[in-house]
């Protein structure tokens, strides 16, 4: 696949410009069994995130705080390349990168999740599930996780038992809105929103998570090739620009 011949002309095998995202759709809050949810598509890639809340014991070193966790499942239904079984490196990376974006930006006010210090707290658990893989699962998962959290409502709780059937009227309020944008480097070209083919051909990638204020709250370099500082700077700028654009176009639709 002679990708470089395409990039020289300024476009990609599917006709997009190098810095162009495929259309993004968000369907938020439709999964009734979850406390929060979102189904996001970027082009043909489809990801569903469900948020569940449970009451647990806080960590002993953080008795006044609630907890959060992100898991990712790359279901074999989503791609001929995915196999059944325990999480592999790819799904673990997706989960951990999305987790760090939320954790480092302090998007969730974990102190606000405390119920009884040292004894009971809320735990917010997100499961990022891939349903159709056509590239860029990470960005899709990140947007879906954010949109899902924005729809999350605390279940009822009488102090002892959680009542999922009768939700409270307390919404989960996020302090920050982190979004991950992955920039891919192929030879001397930088692209966003890679397709499967482009991911296979990439030399390196940088996933940049930013908040609405433009602060970078998490970075993840992937791929076997190295990056020069100037390249990193260009990738950071590109990611920030795209994140801002995407926030703008999706505001009111889940972000």
């Amino acid at each position: 696949m002679h990708l470089l011949d395409y990039f020289k002309e300024g476009f990609r095998p599917d006709g997009r410009k190098l810095d162009e995202f495929r259309p993004i759709t968000i369907e938020a809050g439709t999964i009734k069994t979850a406390e929060g949810s979102a189904i996001v598509t970027i082009g043909g890639t489809r990801v569903i995130v469900g948020v569940k809340m449970q009451v647990e014991k806080p960590y002993s070193d953080r008795p006044n705080e609630g907890t959060m966790m992100v898991g990712a499942e790359l279901y074999p239904m989503a791609s001929p390349k995915f196999e059944s079984g325990p999480p592999n490196a790819q799904s673990i990376e997706i989960a951990r990168v999305i987790d760090r974006g939320l954790r480092e930006s302090k998007a969730i006010d974990t102190k606000g999740l405390c119920l009884i210090p040292g004894e009971k707290c809320w735990s917010v658990i997100m499961d990022v599930c891939a349903m159709n893989e056509e590239g860029n699962l990470l960005d899709a998962g990140s947007i879906a996780a954010l949109a899902a959290l924005n729809t999350t409502i605390f279940p009822g709780f009488d102090g002892t038992i959680v009542d999922y059937k009768h939700p409270s009227d307390r919404k989960l309020e996020l302090k920050k809105q982190p979004i991950a944008i992955t920039v891919v480097k192929i030879a001397n070209y930088l692209l966003v929103d890679p397709t499967n083919e482009e991911e296979q051909a990439m030399d390196a990638r940088l996933t940049v998570t930013t908040t609405a204020e433009g602060t970078i709250c998490s970075l993840q370099k992937g791929g076997e090739a190295s990056l020069l500082p100037e390249e990193i700077q260009a990738m950071l700028e590109l990611a920030k620009t795209k994140a801002k654009e995407i926030r703008g176009s999706l505001s009111g639709k889940g972000l």
């Binding site: 449970q54 349903m131 159709n132």
Partner: protein, 243 residues
Amino acid sequence: MKTQVNIMSKYQRTDGRDADGIRPMEAKVGVIPQADGSAMFKIGNTIAYAAVYGPRELYPRFLQNPETGILRCNYNMMPFSGAGDRVRPGANRRSKEISMVTENALRPVIDLHDCPNAVVDVFIELPQTDAGSRCAGITAAAMALADAGIAMRDMVSAIAVGRIGDGSYVDLSYEEEALEDYPVADIPMAFVNRTGEVTLLQMDGEVQTEGIMDALAKGREACKRIHALQTQALKNKFQGDTQ
């Protein structure tokens, strides 16, 4: 204290349905583009997605059958799909059993002699469940297999019928499964459309033979309606292909 008979004759379904009323249904084919065939089936608040990959290479080698391809089903509930707590991801005993009965429910109509040593994989995922989930999975899987162009002599449709006292009630809801005032038997079943062959039959509860036979008859009728929906969903997908 009322006698059993009096109570039974007064059972009104919690959601107001008739005894043979099915919750609102929706079916769509071709929802997972990466797969060779796929479908979504929704009944009440239970949503099942099925995706088919195959025939494709089968590993490990020792599973290969030189006479015929094999069918392999994997049923899974998403962690946030249950009524209460989060369900830890990964196979558990229940999902493994459902995977097996699903395979048995579909196998009788499928002919894989054209693809020896290969496998047809069916993956069923449920993002939201509210009773009748294994049946919804089977109904979706049958559409997905047809969509994938697999040789099938007929369609399979599935429904759970409940025996509540002396009556059969089609498409048991979650509330009905958990009824405390009445004895409830939950009977998931699946039928081959034309012949009425039963390919799935399970039961939780206590019933007499007549009860099961009545439930089967009611279930068969209900499955004809489900089949009509499956047929329409399959034709809708390819309607654009014919003019």
